[in-house]
């Protein structure tokens, strides 16, 4: 008898990623475009309590560290810097799989204050998978220098998740970032996710397919997001699911998809 994902999935998957290699209360992922100051944020949060290696089975660099905030230990997992979670490069797969299958208690998305528009693509992609997100608008000192003003409150309201402006190199905004991450991870603050709406044709296809996807994967994965990927024809993701979910159930997703596509 195989273990089912429903009963053991989350902890099994986290072990695969070694996210809980030593004791901690919350697992926090750090995502962002390349060069947004992700490593600087990581260092500012974790100080010297970190170690590096590779992701299991990949040549993609991995850094992990931890910090303590209000007597809780937060484990921070630095994901590869990417513009997207959907183009299937090794980096993007690692980032997507971690957010999707290891299901961190919160994900910090570091965005560049000097080119916010470009960076929000990744933020929205993460927010399609999980609402447990904190947006860290980094390089705010650079933005000020370039006379770019960002309405942080409005951005937070529009996105439905907490937003903080930071200058990680000087430490500006770091205490607030820790506070917001703690709020989201502990569910003290409920995020209000506004899902991206697609064309009527796509929404109709989702409405038809999602209940059947949900019946198979339960609440282990965001079923709307998975439905979108299946409609996208992302068969690689289905194979990845089989690895992580450790159950025969996912195999039966494919016939559902093929049916949904006709």
């Amino acid at each position: 008898m195989g273990l089912t994902y429903q009963s053991t999935g989350q902890s099994t998957t986290r072990e695969i990623f070694n996210a809980l290699a030593d004791h901690c209360d919350y697992a926090i992922a750090l995502a962002g475009n390349p060069n947004t100051g992700k490593s600087t944020v990581f260092n500012a949060l974790t100080g010297l309590r970190q170690h590096t290696g590779n992701w299991p089975g990949k040549t993609v660099q991995r850094a992990e560290g931890s910090y303590i905030y209000k007597s809780h230990r937060f484990r921070l997992i630095d994901l590869p810097g990417t513009y997207s979670l959907l183009s299937n490069s090794a980096d993007e797969e690692v980032a997507r799989d971690f957010i999707c299958f290891a299901r961190p208690d919160a994900t910090i998305v570091v965005v560049d204050a000097t080119c916010l528009e470009r960076n929000l693509n990744l933020a929205l992609q993460v927010m399609e998978i999980t609402g447990r997100v904190v947006i860290c608008v980094n390089l705010i000192d650079e933005a000020r220098r370039k006379k770019i003003r960002i309405d942080i409150d409005k951005l937070g309201k529009r996105l439905g998740v907490p937003v903080v402006a930071t200058a990680a190199r000087s430490g500006e905004g770091m205490p607030r970032l820790k506070e917001l991450v703690s709020d989201v991870a502990s569910k003290r603050v409920q995020t209000k996710l506004q899902p991206v709406r697609y064309s009527q044709e796509v929404e109709n296809a989702i409405a038809r397919l999602e209940p059947r996807v949900q019946a198979i994967v339960g609440n282990s994965i965001n079923s709307r997001w998975l439905t979108l990927r299946l409609l996208d024809g992302d068969t690689r993701l289905v194979h990845t699911m089989e690895n992580y979910l450790n159950t025969g159930e996912t195999v039966s997703v494919m016939p559902v998809v093929q049916e949904g596509l006709v």
Partner: protein, 79 residues
């Protein structure tokens, strides 16, 4: 009404607005993720000596695209 062409046919230093990404599948996804959605203004920065790839300024980042990939982005020259 300005004429429609593709990104690879623009000369260095010129600007264009994206009309449509004609690529399919992962190439399409990649181009959209780079910010090449309809309405985006793109600048041609320079070409490598062989003319391939071509460097573009897309929403504040310099991105090099292979000529055949750039050829799948429909644009209208700007000004």
């Amino acid at each position: 009404m300005s004429a429609t062409t593709t990104l690879n046919r623009l000369s260095n230093g010129s600007f264009a607005l994206v009309k449509e990404v004609m690529a399919e599948g992962l190439t399409r996804r990649r181009l959209l993720d780079l910010g090449l959605v309809p309405g985006t203004k793109v600048e041609v920065i320079r070409r490598s000596p062989a003319g391939d790839p071509i460097a573009f300024n897309i929403r504040g980042a310099v991105i090099a695209l292979r000529r055949d990939v750039a050829g799948q982005v429909l644009v209208s020259p700007w000004k």
